[in-house]
């Protein structure tokens, strides 16, 4: 069964490009959002398997959104993967401190990488 994704990013170009690539690679992108509020609502109604969250959502912080998604509702607490155009080492301390299951650089985004991160958490 393909992984069902919600992508949260405030950059329309990126949403478009990421959706096209990930679907090609066998994922299902069930929805996209570009603000915290939108993201929380979508997550609630779509129940994705994984949510990709951009660290920078305009003036909002992806770290905050990741925290709120992780607190989640009783019924649904989807794993979050943080994404950014910054390389991981630039923000490592903040990423470590967040409840996200992992981080992917946007330039290295791929279905395989997502699958690996989620699979790893399923096991542990």
């Amino acid at each position: 069964m393909p992984i069902r994704l919600l992508i949260v990013d405030d950059n329309a170009h990126f949403l478009e490009a990421a959706r096209r690539l990930l679907e090609r690679q066998g994922m299902t992108v069930v929805g996209v959002a570009s603000t915290t509020l939108d993201a929380l609502r979508r997550a609630e109604e779509l129940r994705p398997d994984v949510t990709l969250v951009d660290i920078e959502l305009g003036h909002e912080s992806g770290f905050d959104l990741a925290r709120r998604l992780a607190e989640g509702t009783e019924a649904h607490r989807p794993p979050v993967i943080l994404i950014s155009a910054y390389p991981e080492q630039d923000l490592a301390d903040l990423i470590d401190a967040s409840p996200a299951v992992g981080f992917l650089a946007k330039s290295g985004l791929s279905g395989g990488a997502i699958f690996e991160l989620v699979g790893r958490t399923d096991k542990g």
């Binding site: 950059n11 170009h13 990126f14 478009e16 490009a17 990421a18 096209r20 690539l21 090609r24 690679q25 660290i55 920078e56 912080s61 155009a85 910054y86 390389p87 080492q89 630039d90 923000l91 490592a92 301390d93 903040l94 401190a97 946007k106 330039s107 985004l109 791929s110």
Partner: protein, 488 residues
């Protein structure tokens, strides 16, 4: 010309002077009485000049003249026949005693004037030194009001500044009793019968003998505080009327006529101190603006690069990779070309990340000082022992300054020190940030030999901090920096 005798003295000193004025000559007379026949009147009169000079030094003109009087009586009573009476029989004795009175009075007044002048000069010199040392204007103002108050027979002194909104504000004050100083910064309107008004209108020294019929807020306040005879002189800074120095008495004693002239000497110093402080403050502010503008530009360039170019390139990369997946398997050449382009694009993205990081570190604006310094420590070529106590966010200028200090010190340790470890301590818990970066390398760091350390000093000073470098050859290098946090 009793000008300098108007210098004010403490009550204890005044009492001592009067006691000495009365008792001094009498004691000299009684002390020399056993030798009356051998030394004669002239020697006594000569010796009597001693208490006169002493009293003049401690107590001023009036006690000194009194000492002369007491000396006259002592000489006439004890040393000039007939003894036991002020009458003087011998004409020679009479001439000698009159000569004593004239010379004594002249010496006394001369001494009083000279010592007053010396005091005034000393006060002016102290203030000039204070103003020349980069003392803050507030410090100079406070010192001026105090020195003027101590020198003049005034009960209170004030420094008032004309404000752009048509009021005057009190910027410094002193009072003999320690009370009666209006709160600083307090603004009051003027325009009626007050020194502020007269000086504003004429640009010249002015005098008011009573505020009983004051008709503006400054005057009314002065009346309420019990000020009476008051003298003010204008403070002119670079051609414009900046404010006034006021000396006032709270008793019904009128301030002496020379007060205006004596105040004026101090007013010039106040003006110089203000002009110096203003140009220093302007320089510091403009330096801070230059640094802040530089930082702001770097932050904006980094954001623009990241939000615009970088994001766009990343998206293009994803699109290329998506296109790659659509290429039929048999078109190997096209596939390879696409994959090569993707790889090239990836390199460009990485390159740009490197550049952005050098322009402004993203983690600093997103995570603050703590995470940013951890990142620096992790990336350092020389191993770092980190002691980090900086949880809260600080004003951006301070975070940026602290970050660049640690960054430069770590770079230096790797580049010049041949160090095996660097200790980095960062504490931002109280009202100051303390940074200490110590390496165990060869030492001998010299800010004049490069651009890094000297730039750091500029940066530290623009946020009001201090930096010390200890780097004797062979003992490693330590950089100690303190930056106050409570500035906006």
């Amino acid at each position: 010309m009793l000008g300098a005798s108007l210098r004010h003295r403490s009550a204890a000193r005044r009492v001592a002077a009067w006691v000495l004025a009365v008792a001094g000559p009498a004691l000299v007379g009684l002390g020399l009485l056993p030798f009356r026949s051998s030394i004669g009147l002239a020697a006594l009169l000569f010796t009597l000049l001693l208490p006169v000079v002493g009293v003049a030094l401690i107590g001023g003109a009036r006690p000194a003249l009194t000492a002369v009087g007491v000396g006259f009586v002592t000489a006439a009573f004890l040393f000039a026949p007939p003894y036991g009476s002020v009458r003087i029989h011998r004409q020679g004795d009479l001439v000698a005693v009159i000569a004593f009175v004239v010379v004594g009075a002249a010496v006394g007044i001369l001494v009083v004037n000279l010592s007053g002048l010396a005091d005034e000069q000393a006060a002016l010199r102290r203030l000039a030194t204070l103003a020349a040392r980069a003392a803050s204007p507030d410090e100079v103002f406070a010192a001026v009001t105090e020195e003027v108050g101590t020198l003049l027979p005034a009960d209170t002194t004030r420094l008032l500044r004309y404000e752009p909104d048509g009021t005057v504000s009190s910027v410094a004050g002193w009072s003999r009793s320690g009370a009666h100083i209006p709160p600083f910064g307090d603004r009051k309107g003027f325009g009626g019968k007050s020194l502020s008004t007269f000086i504003w209108q004429t640009g010249r020294p002015a005098r008011v003998d009573s505020y009983a019929d004051a008709s503006d807020p400054v005057g009314a306040a002065a009346h309420e505080e019990g000020l009476r005879s008051s003298v003010g002189t204008p403070v002119i800074v670079e051609g414009r009327l900046w404010g006034i120095v006021v000396a006032a008495s709270t008793s019904d004693r009128r301030l002496p006529r020379c007060t205006e002239a004596r105040l004026a000497a101090f007013t010039v110093l106040v003006a110089t101190a203000i002009a110096n402080a203003e140009s220093r403050a302007e320089l510091a502010a403009s330096r801070a603006r230059v640094v802040a503008a530089g930082d702001e530009t770097r932050r904006r360039i980094e954001r623009d690069l990241h939000d615009g170019t970088q994001q766009r390139l990343v998206s293009l990369g994803l699109e290329l990779r998506a296109a790659e997946t659509m290429v039929p398997a048999e078109l190997t050449e096209l596939r390879e070309q696409l994959s090569g382009a993707t790889k090239g694009l990836g390199d460009v993205v990485e390159n740009l990340q490197e550049i952005s990081r050098g322009i402004h570190p993203a983690i600093l604006s997103k995570g603050g000082l703590g995470p940013a310094i951890k990142t620096l420590a992790r990336r350092s070529a020389v191993p770092v022992q980190l002691d980090l106590r900086a949880e809260r966010r600080l004003p951006e200028r301070i975070e940026v300054a602290a970050y660049y200090i640690v960054s430069e010190a770590l770079t230096n340790a790797a580049k010049h020190a041949h160090a095996s470890v660097v200790h980095v301590d960062v504490k931002a818990q109280d009202a100051v940030v303390r940074l200490s970066i110590r390496d165990d390398g060869i030492g001998g760091a010299d800010p004049t030999q490069g651009s890094g350390l000297i730039g750091l000093r500029d940066r530290v000073e623009t946020v009001g901090g201090r930096m010390e470098i200890a780097s004797a050859a062979g003992t490693g290098t330590s950089l100690l920096v303190t930056i106050p946090i409570n500035l906006s």
